[in-house]
Symmetry: C2
Subunit: 249 residues, 2 copies
DNA sequence: CGTTAACTTGAATTTTGTCAATGCCTGTGG
DNA sequence: CCACAGGCATTGACAAAATTCAAGTTAACG
């Protein structure tokens, strides 16, 4: 994060191979674009809109969601500073992107973005790596939604966002939770009430303490990890293969 | 989509321009590799294995899954002929790939695969497009798991696989279902019993008829679509924005 | 043709959702 | 800076959906 900014600031949009020390980065691509601000609750784009631009989150948090025909909402992800939104080959956005907090973003025309990516053998693997990370996150979310209990979901979520903003991948003790209970519920496939009940339960067991409505303090980090159901499975093939036999019910 | 290809075709990072008629394809990359066969129930690779190779499915169906520490299984996808498996920048596979039926695959060393992709401005957008499709599918699956009822899930699944194998994107009347109820359950985030009950209900309502254990006939295609809960939401932004007001409960 | 795993069906239980009432932050305006 | 309004969040009682447990069936395979 720290180094990214300095690199970005130095980038000169070189077409010819940059022999110098600095290398182009995805952030660098956006760094010359003006910053745009959106108020909390406003949409950057809607599902189904012409997908003209790619966005980089500079500040704040957004929710990415889809809506079913009858109004059911599913938040497929929250986007934080440094994240890219709208990268796809489809000509229409597949989801709505909406500000959770007041946000700042930079915008890049999609076609030019594609050209830059295609031109640069430095940028391409960076973008590829991001897509792979996004895919891995999507798979983890499928695991959560398909098989985890409400409590495991909430704990997984708290761990996820606690790891989201810190530099070291170290979970923070004080965790900012900018989203509402409804956002959490729509992300976790639960109802507001269930999320609320579980937060209360975690509080009364001393695992977390609320710190206002939009932050918590993690008091028992290891307990939270256990409750998240992320106990690392051993990677022994035979154990995995025979899981039905090993855990008979 | 359309424009992407032309952009790619015009791209000048080509080392040796292939002026001839035939253009490289991802399939083409694999076509010189020997075919390997796996029996139903055997794994091509395990989650956590060194990610040395990328695979192309030539024949049959595979399941891609992850296992939680206590044995709960989540199938994140089924792979059909033409699909690529193991494309990622991680050095270990993120999931297990196991044959549902007897399968044929071709294998390509990952490093060489990366080199070929990097070398070829024709191949790159093809791979990118596949990753985007995979991402879109993952998001649809999150919607299914987060907010759809058991019946909607089963119907969505039947529609999905009915569209899977045919050339025209036309749903087939007779749908092969190579996977077991347990596979379906672990893909849909349900239990075998629930899947079974819903299949029975669909049958008794005349929506489908079973044709042996591993095929069904779709008798009321439109009904199946409705039950899948995929009634297209209108893409009117204000309608989407105010969904809580429009559907009050 | 028989064996066995896969599937179906039913009853009881659990989990989560729904509905409704109350409580409490947070941001606004005085 | 404080008071207050309104949106969020919490809590409880009840309902619904899906899971669990427990038999039975059936189809696929040797």
């Amino acid at each position: 994060m720290l180094s990214q900014d300095s690199i970005a600031a130095v980038n000169h949009f070189v077409r010819q191979v940059p022999c110098e020390a600095e290398r182009p980065t995805l952030q660098g691509l956006f760094s010359r674009q003006p910053i745009e601000k959106f108020e909390a609750g406003t949409a950057v784009f809607w599902e189904g809109d012409e997908a003209d631009h790619v966005f980089e989150v500079v500040e704040g948090v957004l929710r990415i969601y889809k809506i079913l025909g009858d109004g059911r909402r599913v938040i497929t992800g929250f986007m934080y500073p440094g994240d890219l939104i709208g990268v796809s080959l489809k000509d229409r956005y597949l989801y709505t992107a909406e500000a959770v907090t007041r946000i700042q973003v930079r915008r890049f025309a999609r076609q030019r973005f594609q050209e830059e990516i295609n031109r640069s053998p430095e940028l391409r693997p960076q973008l590829f790596a991001r897509l792979c990370d996004e895919m891995a996150a999507a798979q983890d979310q499928m695991v959560l939604l398909a098989r985890k209990s409400a409590e495991e979901r909430v704990c997984s979520f708290l761990l996820l966002i606690s790891r989201r903003l810190d530099r070291d991948g170290q979970a923070l003790r004080v965790v900012e939770v900018p989203m509402t209970r409804l956002d959490m519920a729509d992300y976790l496939g639960l109802t507001i009430e269930t999320v609320s009940r579980i937060m209360t339960r975690l509080t009364s067991r001393g695992v977390i303490s609320p710190s206002g409505r939009h932050a918590i303090i993690v008091r028992k980090s290891d307990k939270l990890t256990t409750l998240a159901g992320e106990v690392e499975a051993d990677h022994n093939p035979s154990a995995a293969y025979t899981h039905q036999a090993v855990w008979p019910n």
